[in-house]
């Protein structure tokens, strides 16, 4: 069972976002980057399949040189191969998807994993785009996965319910919380990862972006509203109700 896991490197979720001088991008100085949290779930699912059924786990990331750090971390957790596709961060997810799809074609695989969303870009686009480019079925926002007999049975989260979907392999799966609990890297894993060379590639065809940044801005500071003392619960409840009816115009 061979898997490919696509890894987005994203700013730490604790990070404060600063706007760069061009007014279009974020200022990366001093910013800590992490493996996008949903991609950790995707990686864990692939590693468990490898442990149960054998095969390779290839992690692929498109981006500037800093993404090699994210790939190293994935190798330390149990990925067996890593590919870095060189490219600048872009708001056009299709450019990323095309580069990934072209590279994935050259790697043996039964499953291609993604996070349900890159935390930060918050697009939720790349997985289904790659599925279409490769002509594979996709199951998006998966909370539970079983793989047997050339098929994936995946639970897909939708509003207030869950769908159980069967997809023949090869298939694209995007991981949602609940799928598993990702492991940490072991010291042994970190040492072993150092011996694995990262395969560095440049995109086969440079796609022209059709989505471009016009502007990046911070949200207006919330002024911080009224604060009231709730030591008299009945009075506080009345005050909240008044706010709900008069200002939120609810009820």
């Amino acid at each position: 069972m061979n898997s490919v896991v696509c890894i987005a490197q994203v700013p730490d979720t604790e990070a404060r976002i600063k706007i760069a001088g061009d007014g279009k991008n974020i200022d990366e100085t001093g910013l800590k980057f992490i493996v996008s949290p949903y991609d950790e779930l995707a990686l864990e699912a692939a590693i468990r399949l490898k442990e149960a059924q054998g095969g390779d786990v290839t992690v692929i990331s498109f981006g500037p040189d800093r993404v090699q750090q994210a790939l190293r971390e994935c190798l330390a957790r149990g990925a067996t191969k890593a590919i870095h596709i060189k490219g600048d961060a872009t708001p056009d997810s299709l450019v990323i998807a095309k580069a990934l799809a072209a590279s994935i074609k050259n790697v043996p695989h039964d499953l291609v994993f993604f996070g349900k969303q890159g935390v930060g870009t918050d697009n939720s686009l790349v997985g289904p785009m790659v599925a279409e480019l490769l002509g594979y079925p996709q199951v998006n926002v998966v909370t539970h996965l079983e793989v047997a007999d050339g098929k994936a049975i995946a639970h897909r989260e939708i509003e207030g319910a869950e769908e159980v979907i069967e997809a023949p392999l090869p298939a694209v799966i995007t991981a949602q919380k609940g799928m598993n609990e990702p492991r940490y890297a072991s010291l042994k894993g970190i040492m072993a990862a150092k011996k694995i060379a990262i395969d560095t590639q440049t995109p086969a065809e440079a796609a022209t972006p059709s989505v471009t940044f016009v502007k990046l801005e911070l949200p207006p500071e919330k002024s911080g509203g009224r604060k009231i003392d709730g030591s008299d619960p009945a009075a506080a409840a009345k005050e909240i109700l008044k706010y709900i009816r008069e200002e939120a115009k609810a009820l």
Binding site: T13, Y38, V119, L125, E132, R156, A161, V211, I228, A248
Partner: protein, 313 residues
């Protein structure tokens, strides 16, 4: 005359609210608004909210591959400048797949839309609401998914949309085996107008009833912080935040939630925020429009009673 094609998700013969929001937003982008649905029973409703034509493929239950080919057919006939999807689970599943098929650019989860020099301009929250990016999509068509609750639903007062039947290829590799509704009758936080959320301040799982009772009385959905989802008090479908759902209801009531940056990222764009917390220094108060410093176990049940009283009148 720019044509805008809108994907309408239907449920029980009705158009879902998020799709109606997208349909309403479409009318501001172009004067020829057309739509796609899998059920022609919604032609009257589609017309009322501004669709002149409704492409219908009797595609049955949602499957990514069949719906992609149906939308491709609709796009071939309508030749839209823009295709909009409401940001439902299915809308967000379908938009990127169709985009790759049509070689089109996508802006997802947008909260503002406009045409600028014939190109689609969209604003979208990024870094979970810590910043806003404005992007321009220069492909034809340009595709966008709208953030639930970001655009108002507005009637256009038109008659029923003219139904145009199309056929879609039905060879989907994936199959739907079953749909499970673990918490039947529970409202999803994704589209809710009102959300009442609980955090670790509730002390234990059983106390979630305090939050549920208020949500029930006020006709809202139940939200939660990650701390209580991780503790297993409630299913992660309810989690609000950077690694849960980003929500923007009209009213968000946070009970016993401290307001960690990852939680704030998921709810700061709510229109009205009420926070109840016993710690006057809790960061949640920085974003609350009305902050109440006190014991949730006393205040929330009192509020539930007040709400019930109002509704009884």
């Amino acid at each position: 005359m720019a044509t805008i094609l809108v994907f309408l998700e239907t449920r029980d013969g009705r158009i879902r609210k998020t799709s109606l929001e997208a349909l309403s937003a479409a009318r501001k982008l172009g004067d020829d608004v057309v739509a796609f649905a899998n059920d022609k029973a919604v032609a009257a409703e589609a017309g009322k909210f501004g669709a002149k034509r409704l492409f219908v493929a009797p595609a049955g239950a949602y499957l990514t591959e069949t719906f992609t080919s149906a939308m491709q057919k609709a796009a071939e006939q309508a030749k839209p400048a823009v295709i909009l999807f409401g940001g439902t689970s299915n809308g967000r599943d379908l938009a990127p797949r169709l985009a790759a098929r049509l070689n089109a650019g996508v802006a997802s989860d947008v909260d503002r839309l406009e045409m600028s020099d014939g190109k689609l301009r969209a604003r979208r929250p990024v870094y979970s609401g810590k910043a806003f990016a404005t992007v321009e999509v220069s492909s034809t068509p340009a595709i966008a998914t709208t953030r639930p609750n970001a655009f108002p639903v507005e009637e256009a007062g038109g008659g029923a949309a003219e139904v145009v039947e199309i056929t879609a290829s039905s060879d989907s590799k994936a199959r739907l085996l079953e749909t499970k509704s673990p918490e039947a009758g529970e409202m999803s936080i994704a589209e809710a107008d009102i959300i009442v959320s609980g955090g670790r301040g509730l002390k234990e799982a059983a106390n979630f009833s305090v939050v549920r009772d208020l949500a029930h009385a006020i006709n809202g959905a139940v939200g939660a912080s990650r701390a209580v989802v991780d503790a297993g008090w409630i299913d992660h479908q309810h989690q609000v935040g950077q690694t849960g759902r980003v929500v923007s209801p009209n009213l968000y009531i946070a009970c016993g939630i401290s307001g960690a940056i990852q939680h704030l990222a998921g709810m700061t764009s709510s229109k009205h925020i009420v926070a109840i917390n016993k710690d006057a220094e809790a960061p949640i108060f920085r974003v609350a429009d009305l902050g109440v410093v006190g014991d949730l176990f006393q205040i929330v049940p009192a509020l539930t009673e007040e709400v019930k009283k109002t509704k009884a009148h």
